[in-house]
Amino acid sequence: MGRILQKKDDDESDFLFENLDKGQVIQEKRAFNESPVHPRKCSLVISQFLYLLSRGDSFTKTEATDIFFAATKLFQSKDIPLRRLMYLLLKELSTISQDAIIVISSLTKDMSHKIELYRANAIRILCKITDSSILPQIERYFKQSIVEKDPHVSSAALVSSIHLLKVCPEIVKRWANEVQEAISNKSNMVQYHALALLHRIKQHDRLAVSKLVSNLIKNSLRSPYAQSYLIRCCVEVIEETNTEDRIFREYIESCLRSKNEMLAYEAARSICTFKNVSNKEINSAVGVLQNFLNSTKPTLRFAAVRTLNKLAQTNPTAVIPCNLDMENLITDTNRSIATLAITTLLKVGNESNVERLIKQIANFLGDINDEFKIVVVDAITSLSQKFPKKYKHLIIFLNKILRDEGTLQLKQATLDAILTVVNNIPESKEIALTELCDYIEDCDFPDLSVQILHLIGQEGPLTSSPAQYMRYIYNRVLLDGGIIRAAAVTSIAKFGLLYEPMKEKVVILLQRCLLDEDDEVRDRATLYLKLFKENDTRYLNKVLMDDVPVPLNNLQKSLEAYLHQGDFSEPFDIASVSTVAETYQSPLLGDGKSPFSTGASKKGDSVTGTPKASNTATEESSGPESFVSKLSQIPQFSTFGKLLKSSEYIELTETETEYVVNCVKHIYREHIVFQFNCTNTLNEQQLSNVSVKMVPSDVKLLKYECSIPIDVLPYGEPQQCYVAIRYNPVNGYPLCSLSNNLKFKVKEVDPSTGELDEPGYDDQYSLERMEIVPKDFLNRAFVGNFSEDWKKMSEDTQLVQTFSLVGVKSIDEAVKQIIKTLGMAPAEKSEVVAPKSVKHILYLTGKSLNNQLIYVRARMKLDQSQTNTDVELTVKSDDESLNDFVISAFVEK
């Protein structure tokens, strides 16, 4: 077989074909026209074409047609290897080339050729180029070939017919008798192909299929492929007809004993999908899989463990016999197998063996890399929900990972997992704290130390013996860097606040920190000390215990703006800071992961609300607080008074359209300014005189005031246009919806020269509708103690409303939705929902634009169908109409 197209034996890097150029090869097709034909030369050219095709080069219709027709010249060659290559080239090009039917006569001639290879390949091309108009004329060749003894020809004809079934099903169905005959062909593959075709021909006739299948079961097919296919047919029959006939199940079970691994596996995995399966059946199936688990072939182990993993969901007890074998797979060199083994084991794990399992996993921890350890950590975390009583082992296990060598990413994931366990299982708090205290003694990651100190400060004082933690914390003050010392000082102060008996000691410790070299440490110590001395518990509470209620970036910007404006007659009000982050991110919600996600390590998250499209403009427009100064510079708005509230960004287009527009609503006492941030994403256009035409659904509520268009909006530079409206607050807030149209003049730009095509034309672009909603007129507010305040508020003015959040399937989702709809601040950490809970109470506080406090209590519960959430909303404030207004965010009045 030395006819590999072998050329010089150059060095490794110099491959014959790698730098092949399409144009050059197309030239070489002239070799096909030479007479006599040079098989060697032509074979090389064909190989080159085939290589280009498989490499991914594309041929135009003309090119393909040219090559196709040139190649048809080769029908005259008698060189069999060349003919074989020619058939492949014609087959590959037949779908790109035009008029490929031209070769039908040559191909049909080949159909009567004595060489089988010609017949087999000719029919494979024929099936690609015929359609229902031609097929009847060449139908006999198909019928003939199907019943051929030669397996090459018969298989080719049968497989081609399977393809043709999609094109002209009616004709192919007429060949059923021939196909039936082919099933008894000696060749295994022909048997398989014939069965597949016959089944497909009868597919829509259930009775016929079931008859065919039961006949073939008795027929004892030899081909493992045919038998595997038949198993699928049996499963289909069982599922569709719910037949009582045992013959189908018995057949599948009998295949379990096959020596062919593919077939035995097909039988086993089919049995695993049965809905009502007998113990005997499932045990023998699992037995086969168990053997595979110990195979030397990775694919067999993978197949088995993957099937068991699925089975564990529906029938965990059936999987248990394999537990030992799967434990061995935890260290499998193939990571997919190891992962499946672990997750399967954890699925079937029960209270009694979970401990041993954890130990088992702990043993091999040293052998696996960090990325995979994170998978393990996640799996362990989910165990904590299943077996809360095993928290001790889980915490110790997680702590071991924390202490071992590892990347920050792994450690953060592990710490997050520990925090999840602590949050879910209160009993685990003490052991977790003790372990973590030990850990920070030699923790190399300041980020983690800070988070842990925060946790100890938060939870430590509430444990049975808070004093034990103080030594660990104070050690940090003595031994660590500035940022950790600052966190430690805060942590110490929390003990003083939350655990009265330690207050004096805390004061002494704080005093020692007054001379710290780090400004932050000194400042914190000084502040806490002063508050302790004044015994201002309320303020201490606020400083120490409340999470910063706004995205930190926004807070920073607001503070900077406050300092910049130079007017300090009014104190800075944190409620004026925007919570622009669209999806409200509680520091404790943060995807259920780290309660510290607003901290330095994940700073990026806190600005996720910034729209993608205006990323280029992030600098100027990232938070409404920067709007204050910007808006006040616009003379038309100067008489509107103080800006009371700015909304989050509302996208009015998809982010990938020609023009990208989003809007921010600025609320004043009697006006609303709509700020439209527009981006032109077409580099061949320049827009001018860009404005938005707004039409309110209720014209009586608001009056048009003015509009400020964008003079010129070039490609890629976001700019703002404004529309201002007036409303009368005496008549209530103007809740309505607005339709929006972007109007502008387009001038085409030549992107290469930048030349403008004057004069341009007017055009418009419709934008999404926008609503004015109650949230626009509500601000977040923060109160020290919600429940006390709630009790103090009279029940006479309260308003209670029940409604259902349709399609909200989890409490967590409901909580997020309510917070988002009202734009108020959650109190008492009530935004934290225990996993899988079916009811919950959420407390929110907010205030109206004229600073009236509003308290909201939302009791919610999943309804019986588990698809909706029922909510009872109670609103308390001093103003009944305000209560109404808040409720109207959910219920149409």
């Binding site: 077989m1 590999i4 197209l5 190989s47 290897p81 593959m189 990571r335 190891a338």
Partner: protein, 175 residues
């Protein structure tokens, strides 16, 4: 249910140094542009080429990927996620076994695959037709690919030459 028949959704050989495509063949329209194909191949390569990953099989984006590494290439056989893993492995084995026969047990590497591209692609064509397994016996496949036949080309030429030279001699003789 019918997916058993369409065993293979795609096949490709990637260079094991950077993951560049050597050759590829897709049997359905899951990846209908070259760009989609290549980004899938890159994903597969990134996952399977890691030394510490362990070999032969994995699941990626709803596809079963069975593969085998050689000195400078990796050969992949990809199937639907519900496919019978072992069936897919058998196809891959048939392909490799056939190449071993055709290349007379030479070490499979990029050079061999490319220099013998006609054999490589014909083998594939004889094993898989539109995703359906045509044949799995490597001896049969090798026979269908590498038809032994007299080298007509050279034979014709030499006869022609002989005839010509005879003619010439005859002509000379007659002169």
């Amino acid at each position: 249910m019918s997916s058993f028949l369409y065993t293979v959704t795609s096949f490709f050989i990637l260079d094991s140094s950077k993951g560049d495509r050597v050759i590829a063949k897709y049997y359905n329209n899951d990846f209908d542009t070259l760009q989609k194909q290549k980004s899938f191949e890159k994903k597969v390569f990134d996952k399977t080429s890691k030394v510490n990953f362990g070999g032969e099989i994995t699941l990626l984006d709803n596809y079963l990927v069975v593969y085998k590494s050689f000195s400078n290439i990796i050969i992949y056989m990809v199937g639907d996620q519900n496919q019978n893993e072992i069936a897919l492995l058998y196809v891959l084995n048939s392909f490799i076994d056939t190449l071993q026969i055709l290349f007379e047990n030479s070490q499979i590497n990029k050079k061999l695959i490319l220099d013998g591209i006609n054999y490589t692609l014909l083998t594939l064509d004889e094993i898989i037709d539109g995703g359906i397994i045509m044949e799995n016996d490597s001896v049969v496949i090798a026979d269908r690919v590498g038809i032994k036949a007299p080298d007509n080309d050279d034979l014709d030429e030499s006869i022609n030459k002989a005839v010509t030279s005879v003619k010439e001699q005859l002509f000379n003789f007659l002169k």
